[in-house]
Amino acid sequence: MRLDRRQFIKQSAISSALATAGALFPGISFGDWSRLAQNNSVISWQKSPCRFCGTGCGVLVGVSDGRAVAVKGDPNCSVNKGLCCMKGYHSVQALYGKDRLTKALIRRDGAMVEVPIQEALDLVAQKLQETRDAYGKDSVAMYGSGQWTIPDGYVASKLFKGCLGTNNVEANARLCMSSAVTGFMTSFGLDEPMGCYEDIDHANVFITWGNNMAEMHPVLFSRMLAQRKRRTNVKIIDFATRYSRTSQAADKSIIFRPQTDLAVANAICYEIIKNDWVNWNFVNEHVSFHKGKTNIGYGTEDHFAFTDKAESIDFEDFKTFLEDYTPEKVEKISGVPARDIKYMAALYGDPSVKVTSFWCMGMNQHTRGTWINNLVYNIHLLVGKISMPGNSPFSLTGQPSACGTVREVGTLTHKLPHGVVMNEHDREMAAQIWEVPVENIDPKPSYHTVEMFRALDRGDIKFIWIQVTNPMVTMPNLKRYRDGALKEDRFVVVSDVYPTPTTDIADVILPAAMWVEQEGMYGNSERRTQHFTQIVDPPGEAMSDTWQIIEVARRLGFEKQFSWDQSDYIEKIWEEYRRFHAGPKHEMAPYSVLAERSGVQWPFVDGKETRWRYNPRYDPACSNGKDFDFYGKKDNRAWIWARPYEPAAEFPDSEYNFWLNTGRVIEHWHTGSMTRRVPVLHNAVPSSYVEIHPEDAAELGVVNGEKVKIISRRGEITMPAQINGRGVPVRGMVFVPFFDESYLINEVTLDAFCPISKQPDYKKCAVRLEKA
């Protein structure tokens, strides 16, 4: 019996229980968005940067009946050219979680009670004033965020540094990119990347340094994949401590032991010099050599202080320094085969190949974070692959305005919107623009983030106002800092959009407007400032963080400095702030231009954006008449640093025999307070887990989903094992995503930090495992 194909299909169609399945939904197909968008009511589209990561994708928010109902990638935005990731596409749903904070709450007799927001703001101002009067100006603190809008951070700095005279202003970006800042400052004298995302369209080789871009910067990663597909000469090299989605996509994946990226980077420089791949014209004209202090410590003790001291060396000294880092010696330290080190060196060294290096938390959350940033710049500088399309050492950020608000506005204890508090000229400039006496601005930095929470624990700080961040999930060695915040006479104010473990410890909760419920600006990883208008109304009494600070400032008597009208305060604040950055090295676009465009890159000079800094073909600030001008440093050169390999603060031993690494998954952003309220994202990854190598899991006797207890010297946590899931750690390492407040992995992590940047290392501490 034989059926022809058509008869067969007809026959089976009749007998199949699912015969009508295909006919149930005729005509619906993937990609047919315009059809799906035909709702009853009209949608209007307005531009905004995405709420989530530092990539800074342009999105178009669809509004219908006063509600955000849809998202499209903004085709006019050069960052993403109309594409988003799953978080961006569903971002507007994060506005509408059922437990949105809409009323102010204050703690009375231990319980949180609703009050009118004006009453809560009265209490905040009163407590701040009382604390300051009783314990001094440095007993009050502001802890903000790389998710602050630029005006949020600006008014916070103006109030605390300019008016209240304390440098107790920090932001969570200290935890995510301060090593990038100190890396830029020590190597170039000016912060933020020289290149831009367009480098992706020109590079032949991408090397990701401890950077799972496929999940963390997916839109940039798929741009790389599209380039690899389109051009035949493109390679992606994944250099990592754990196998990830990026490893799967890469042409080659090279695994190194945690912390030994320092040694490998030096070995690459050794090979470049040994094979005479040095670009001598570039090095002779544009580079100077330096060394700093060594054995610099880890900051695990209170009041830890460190100041680096630069000493000039010459090329021969640098060459001698590198003799400890032959590929063969470094193979023993790093576990990276010497041939792979030579392979990477050859890619950097080949003059016909354009190389872009990408990194983010792997290099920044590192007890030698400043050093490893320096070392990757060293490689690019030795071969002169910098400040040109496709040749780019590229430090990515993780938050939408870590660059815009924290690095550019300077919401860190030592910073001012222009320069640092230690510099008299910078203080004078700030005092003049802020209309405050210059004596108000304290020339001494106070507490960086970890030390700020230690000071809260010790009682040196009694009042802290936390905005747009969730430190009771994200602080390393968390238990100490939560216990400290809960002590008897501490007063904690939290401005946020949802209840979190941080609002749980608050004495006052202020409901905040979120993202496009207010006007504001973000600044992304490539020096791009991105303006958004208020697109929908905030719920209930929710108020922008900027306006909350203005309200409190006025109550404290600073009406003159905070005199703006609610109708145009963002524009006025921007134009005041912009004065700090006047000049070709950092000129910011005027408000009217920002409002028009889907992001504008600074320096914005004579109506033009600067895509590659330090290169006179693109950068109008270059003035030395040469092919490059590294004008950030007084010697007009980029600095190569001799920085040695030093071990991690804590590493596996016989008692605690595993590395613990922490991080993210594509679905969730940071502590999940927004993304977990987006149904599609929550359903895709509803809870956290610990990734274990299959052989380690077998030895431990656990299978997928069984509970494992992770124990460190700080604390312990029990959570389900995941084997061969999203990523695979190497043997002897476990990895935990930190988005889930039910599994506070930071109770286990260590609060060691880079002594130069003060950024903690969330990627390395020692734990042991037990089957639970």
Binding site: F8, L18, L24, W33, V71, G672, G727, S742
Partner: protein
């Protein structure tokens, strides 16, 4: 049985496809040296490899020759292995890799005047283990079998957002295989496969799993 001319064209197709297969094997061998484990993240490496290895013209091509009706008519429940809808030359029995000569990479078959669907799991070479051929159209006894409805298409969470992947990824890890090219089912074909990282936008939310909302504990 086939006439001479049909045989000739069939072998020509096979030769052409074998050439492509050989190339693919070379590139797979290169990857085999990689230290990256093969079996994690739902074998996502397959997507990246397919995006890279499939010619752009093939990713973009569309024949409209297969519909969801065809697709589900061969299955007993959503996700079941489809039966083989065409005759299988008995002389090939015991040599299953011949399925892969057409179904590994797809392509036009003059014998069937159609584009071969691409298998998402070509590493499983014992095709007949799961895919049954049809030798008889009559049933031994009538069946009372019923199953659930297949996942609805276009179930985006927002009107403008990419629909999540509604099915389990087990044995269907390689999105490119089924969702691109002229052999793809018309209703689920995508036109933007060159972006390469499908799961950047399409979260996996299996439709047969209850939807839950996040609640603080």
């Amino acid at each position: 049985m086939m006439n001479g001319q049909q045989r000739h064209s069939k072998s020509a197709v096979c030769v052409a496809l074998l050439g492509v297969t050989a190339l693919l094997l070379v590139s797979e061998n290169v990857r085999a040296e990689s230290s990256v484990p093969g079996n994690f993240d739902n074998q996502g490496a397959k997507i990246f490899a397919a995006q890279q290895d499939t010619p752009q013209v093939y990713l973009d091509a569309d024949s409209g020759g297969r519909t969801l009706t065809d697709f589900y008519s061969l299955r007993q429940y959503p996700g079941s292995p489809p039966r083989i809808p065409h005759e299988v030359d008995t002389s090939f029995s015991g040599n299953e890799t011949n399925c892969l000569s057409c179904h590994r990479r797809g392509g036009y078959s003059s014998e069937f005047d159609a584009y071969a669907p691409v298998t998402p799991h070509p590493e499983n070479t014992l095709c007949y283990q799961c895919h049954a051929s049809v030798q008889s159209e009559t049933l031994f006894v009538e069946t009372g079998w019923k199953s659930i409805q297949p996942p609805r298409l276009g179930q985006s969470f927002l009107s403008s957002s990419p629909p999540p992947v509604p099915h389990s990824l087990q044995l269907r890890e390689n999105c490119i295989a089924c969702h691109t090219g002229p052999g793809a089912v018309a209703e689920i074909r995508v036109s933007h496969a060159a972006r390469g990282d499908c799961r950047q936008c399409h979260a996996t939310v299996v439709q047969s799993t209850p939807i839950s909302e996040f609640e603080r504990k």
